[in-house]
Symmetry: C2
């Protein structure tokens, strides 16, 4: 029909077919070259590559996805835009790690947002409708339906931070328990005796593990369970302030505080200062996360560093391996990796 140009419609990008014509070979052969199949002679390969370069050919992803039934992309599912998640450096660092891991591949990264449960159900549908090859879940709550939906739809997924001890999904976590224990052991070694802790929301498994680590360190040092001094908070600065006030009221002579996040430590610091306590002279303070806040606090905050970017990288590696795995999902389920990355105590002036 129409203007007579048989193939190379000058507008638009070149197609496989045009490359094939130019190189004087068939479509299949070009496809083989593009995809690095070994079953092509050197001569032919060179000819095709030249044609590709001359025409500036780039495969059409949509066509490839449709034909091959894979998308060469993975999604990171981010908790709803309204959440405080974004305020934390966690997000950037995870994404940074994912980006690094993806740089070596030709996979792309899709960022999806989902707040409420209904939205997350819709998202599961959407993701499974062959939109992505796999999913990275960050900051998932214990009762989130998404992980199970993805499991059911057989979409490969990796979760950051276990939801509970027997996390069924492939997971990558940092060693919250050991990190907390190291922080408290450090305080003990500096001669502190009345060591309190401010916890995060205990329905977040990592927060529970940090509390366990605190208790374990005290026990190891011969302290009885009754010496534990625990105030629950919720990872917020305001929560940190309230918890610190509570602790000071309960135990005015405390000489150290381990806060389960830097943000809460910052809140605690304000209350301590207002109460006339010097840091670290009167009260030593240790945080968790080693965020920018820790470095810029006054005095700089000793904190437990989590290798967050490395977690992002590792999650991606695990996911890519899962995607590449030819075995049926039922088989894989039994050998899903559960990786725990070491944390590290960064000592600064606050302790």
């Amino acid at each position: 029909m129409g203007s007579g140009q048989p193939k190379g419609r000058s507008g638009g990008r070149p197609t496989l077919e045009e490359v094939a014509a130019r190189a004087g070979v068939g479509r299949g052969t070009v496809s083989r070259v593009i995809n690095g199949s070994p079953r092509v002679s050197e001569r032919t390969r060179a000819a095709v590559e030249e044609a590709v370069a001359e025409l500036g050919y780039v495969p059409n992803t949509a066509a490839r996805a449709l034909a091959a039934n894979r998308t060469d992309s993975i999604a990171v599912v981010v908790p709803e835009p309204e959440s405080r998640f974004f305020a934390e450096p966690y997000f950037s660092d995870i994404v940074h790690g994912v980006g690094t891991a993806l740089a070596d591949t030709d996979m792309q990264l899709l960022l999806t947002f989902a707040g409420g449960d209904r939205e997350r159900r819709r998202l599961a549908q959407y993701l499974s409708a062959h939109r992505v090859d796999g999913v990275l879940l960050v900051s998932v709550h214990a009762d989130d339906p998404l992980p199970d939906l993805l499991e059911q739809l057989e979409v490969p997924a990796v979760i950051s931070g276990r939801r509970r001890a027997d996390e069924p999904l492939a997971s990558v976590d940092s060693d919250n328990f050991a990190g907390a224990r190291a922080a408290v052991t450090h305080l003990l070694s500096r001669g502190r005796r009345a060591i309190a802790t401010i916890t995060g929301r205990l329905d977040v498994y990592g927060a529970q593990l940090r509390l366990d680590g605190y208790r374990d360190a005290l026990a190891q040092a011969g302290h009885g369970p009754e010496e534990a001094l625990v105030a629950r908070a919720d990872f917020t600065e305001e929560g940190g302030r309230r918890a610190m006030e509570e602790l000071l009221a309960r135990r005015p002579d405390l000489d150290a505080v381990f806060a389960a996040s830097d943000v809460m430590a910052s809140g605690a610091r304000q209350v301590l200062r207002r109460a006339g306590r010097r840091i670290p002279d009167d009260v030593a303070l240790v945080g968790f996360d080693d965020s920018a806040i820790a470095r810029h606090m006054d005095p700089p905050l000793t904190s437990v560093r989590q290798p967050i970017a490395e977690m992002g990288r590792t999650m991606t590696d695990v996911l890519l391996a899962e995607i590449a795995d030819p075995r049926p999902p039922a088989t894989r389920r039994l050998t899903r990796p559960r990786i725990v990355l070491p944390t590290e105590l960064v000592h600064r002036a606050s302790s």
Copy 2:
């Protein structure tokens, strides 16, 4: 071939065809319903919607992209993973804003990373190969080839922060000039007289504008150009320290510093404190960005807030409008929006 099932291969997700069969209509009609075309009778629409719900049908994005030649997704191009860009809250906030704006649409967000020029060329090819409908560029350097490549390939794009005064692309920026001027005017109104500034890299246009704002405020207050006290830095903490040392050497009696970023202000603060200067008693300090650092610094830092999330939102709105615009690119070029959002001075104890 083979197992006899004519259509509904029980594995896999349902297709348009299956929905059509179920609803007793043709493929075209289902497509019309899915895409909200008005040319469908109420009865038919209801029947199709029921079939869609029953089968849990979700359109295959790849097929749609291939047939309709659009992808319903946009890309955010992020400077290379190695850059410090990630360390800044800027990134999260922009993405947050983009996510918010996208939540109302069914567009998806692709995050792409590109470091060197070669990578960025490759990326331009890739993006233009019908992978995305439009591109959001953040933190672009003055000599980045990517914007021009995209222009050439007729890929709709919006840039955050103009590269120069006559930015040809659609752009969304914050009012760096007015923000800096407000900061310096504030310092003047507090009785400060010897006001220095620490600049960012001046090849970043925004940094130049902040310097211009500083100069303008001084001029407006009747200070001669010779009273300007400028030290150049590079947006880093270390740069802030060095610049502060230089300023202190040149003008020991300075009583205020306007740093073009919070991070540099943090570096300056360290040097000031080491030199025995009290903040704000001896030297008032103002930053730019109003990042987490500003809130947690001691004393808390007065800073110029940029509406970064809103910039992300606005950029997205502009891009979506550009994508929807049916006029040819040549026409649009003349009326590309150049939006400048207001900044706001957040007063804290450091000034």
